[in-house]
Symmetry: C2
Subunit: 156 residues, 2 copies
């Protein structure tokens, strides 16, 4: 991973606090922030190139849980066809105010694990981590973070 | 490109209008929607895997214009090292209300063109398409769409 996967601003955190300063967020703050949101952005390399999709998600035991749609490209794209080999994805959540030029972004990198057993699925649902109960029973994906990085930009 | 790059919902548009119906957006509506926003998500395959970054952008003559930061990974990642060979990226904009379960998303796929000449840069700035005037003179990237696709989900 690049050292700074969140590129909202050119300046390094060593510049110190001032208008427009960038603060590096530690992992617990990143998890707190993404635990309070519901819409994130999934990025991955589909067979025809990079793709970004918005997804409704929940944070569940330090992993990101969201639905994909069995039989559609999202599901097929995210399967390697090799047992236990999982697709690498990026998952991003942010809140950025373009008027005040302030906000934060968190990027999680990890592997897309397909929740294929009923037991694992049930444990997620029963923990209250169903990311979209209204959508019915679709296919669950769980991203276990390999790396979590976040930045906050103080405006203006 | 997959037929449906915006995967907010499993149902096909042929299902017709009803709660939760998905509407395919035509290109002019996609451009109108992204022309009214300022924060989008850039997705691309960095040397170490997929990445998603929030960027401040503007729509300029049917292309997406945003700053990257010269000398940082975003700039280096998006250069192929081959003259006139440009990096393929995805650029996504959405507004989705997780409470009402309604909103829209537009995904643009195109090549990341580096605005390396002062003439091209000046034409973008003078057209009022500076995506972040407050940030000073950083490096401009322009994405000319190869494909534009959008979906609107009607709640609830």
């Amino acid at each position: 991973m690049p050292d700074d996967p969140v590129g909202l601003d050119p300046r390094s955190p060593e510049d110190g606090p001032r208008p427009g300063a960038i603060e590096r967020l530690d992992e617990s703050e990143c998890l707190r922030l993404i635990g309070a949101e519901r819409v994130g952005h999934l990025g991955y390399t589909s067979p025809v190139g990079p793709t970004v999709l918005p997804v409704l998600y929940k944070l569940h035991e330090r992993s990101i849980v969201f639905y994909t749609l069995q039989g559609t490209f999202t599901d097929e794209d995210l399967r390697t066809g090799i047992a236990n080999a999982e697709y690498r994805v990026a998952f991003e959540v942010d809140q950025f105010d373009p008027e005040k030029l302030q906000g934060w972004a968190v990027v999680v990198v990890g592997s897309a694990h397909h929740v294929d057993t009923e037991a694992e699925r049930a444990s997620i649902i029963s923990a209250g981590a169903d990311p979209w109960p209204e959508a019915g029973k679709e296919h669950l994906i769980r991203v276990q973070p390999i790396r979590i990085a976040g930045r906050r930009r103080h405006g203006p």
